[in-house]
């Protein structure tokens, strides 16, 4: 009878000290990933609150977290409408950034001449601060929505363009040769080889673009500066600032931050779902 038969090893039994240590570390990692940031937030909120109470800071300078939360609930109708406006511009800008960025990237990889001609201008648009371009845009573009969208798009499209171009050019050279040997058309090479190769790069760019389109939308609203119905969160912050309604400023700021986190998490999840079966970045490895 072999040793293994004499002492059957349970699937759940940890076989050595090293493995036990690793399993403990994995368990702690899993717990820590959620509990630590929550703990940091609780401690920060507590210290924030105590700072305000102990120093008797007036609420028009620094409101306590409780008051900010109250304001968030009290002003929810105004803030939620504003959030929807900002979110609408952000998502539209992101969609246009994806279409424009991927479209331009495909064009660039189909023709070196097009890439050489236009890539420098894409870089110039990217490196010029949006706050410097935005006033001009609002002079020349009549529609407020179109102006906001253009600003947000200008900020967001470059990571998509740059990453997708890199991805389309990163297809394995042996696979390229294989496609040539099998007489693939340009379209087949793009569809079956270059686009799947570019997917992880594109998704990386998309995650950056998600955050940037929110930043672009907020900055554009600041510059546009028009109020009334149909104004976004940035305008509500400006307005609250003029009225020294600091709790509402904080509440709007929190909403913007939460929106950014939700967009990032959503895009990370999308990326994980699309890559989980084959890409190194989405695979779980032991040890």
């Amino acid at each position: 009878m072999s040793i293994a038969e004499e002492r059957p090893i349970e699937a759940t039994e940890i076989v050595d000290e090293d493995e036990a240590r690793r399993a403990r570390a994995r368990r702690l990692d899993r717990i820590g990933k959620w509990t630590l940031p929550v703990l940091v937030m609780i401690v920060t909120l507590f210290l924030w609150d105590r700072l305000v109470v102990w120093n008797e800071i007036p609420h028009y300078i620094l409101p306590g977290p409780g008051l900010v939360f109250e304001t968030l609930i009290k002003d929810w109708a105004i803030l939620f409408d504003a959030l929807l406006v900002t979110l609408q511009i952000t998502l539209m800008a992101l969609a246009v950034a994806v279409i424009g960025g991927v479209g331009l990237a495909i064009l660039f990889t189909q023709s070196r001449w097009v890439e050489m001609s236009f890539y420098p201008y894409a870089v110039i648009l990217q490196v010029t601060p949006i706050v410097a371009i935005a006033p001009l845009i609002f002079i020349y573009v009549d529609s407020r929505l179109a102006g906001l969208l253009l600003c947000a798009w200008l900020v967001a499209f470059f990571p998509v363009l740059s990453n997708t171009t890199l991805g389309l050019n990163s297809a394995d050279h042996n696979l390229r040769d294989l496609f040539r040997i099998y007489g693939a058309t340009r379209w087949q090479r793009l569809r079956y080889l270059q686009l799947p190769s570019a997917l992880p790069y594109f998704l990386g760019g998309l995650r950056i673009a998600g955050g940037l389109s929110l930043i672009g939308a907020v900055v554009a609203e600041y510059v546009a500066g028009t109020g009334g119905i149909g104004s976004g969160l940035a305008f509500r912050i400006l307005e609250a600032g003029y009225r020294l309604n600091i709790p509402r400023m904080f509440a709007a700021l929190i909403l913007i931050a939460v929106t950014g986190v939700v967009i990032f998490a959503g895009l990370s999840f999308l990326s994980h779902m699309l890559l989980r079966k084959w890409h190194e970045s989405a695979l779980k490895r032991e040890g």
């Binding site: 040769d177 087949q188 084959w278 890409h279």
Partner: protein, 262 residues
Amino acid sequence: MPTAPETLSGNRPEVLRMEGVDKTFAGNVQALKGMSLQVCEGDFISLLGPSGCGKSTALRLIADLIHPTRGRITWTGGQKAGDLGVVFQEPTLMPWATVAQNAWLPFRLRGKSYNSVKDDVLEALKLVGLEKFQNAYPRELSGGMKMRVSIARAMVTHPRLILMDEPFAALDEITRFRLNDDLLELKDKIGCTVIFVTHSVFESVFLSDRIVVMAARPGRVIRELTVDAPYPRDDSFRTSSEYAAHCRAASDALHQAMDLAA
């Protein structure tokens, strides 16, 4: 109907012929000089030589990835889609596609739907022993299994010629031996014609019926050896005195090639 040209390999019909092929790259680097080669149906030809002797250049020329500076490469009866299969040194699989989708690629690029060629794809996977892994992704396979998928893809269209560019060089010795055996078994089953690039004397003798020994600077053919041991070959061939004698002859020719390049 034109009669088949007279061939080196008895009365087997010719597949492809290289005549006085030169290849000079930019910077006046002569990668290949005056290479002539006749490939007949059922041949297993190894190109054996040191690095830089133009073995891979010859394969790229045959695959039409580069064009000869001088000379001609002609397919007897013309080349049609699916006539050529290629296996590279790396498995070169699409990581986002399953094993079956990878093997389907040559058909897919000819506009054939998966369902219309499913039987061929599964048959090819069965021949390399991977029919149970048709839905697996390349990352789930070992190095040897990935190479089997690559071989299945190369032969799925029943090509007239398969080019193999040091396909087993990156594998461990045991896997390499097993794949050598499997390759000969495949040759026995489907009667494919192969040009096989290798650094290994032992591999070239075990697999081929003709060994083309090449020297570097400039890349050229210096000797052509015939391994007349009958197929199928197995482990008993590997330990035979006949095998040892062929290895010695190939090894001598390889040393001569290296001396010429020194």
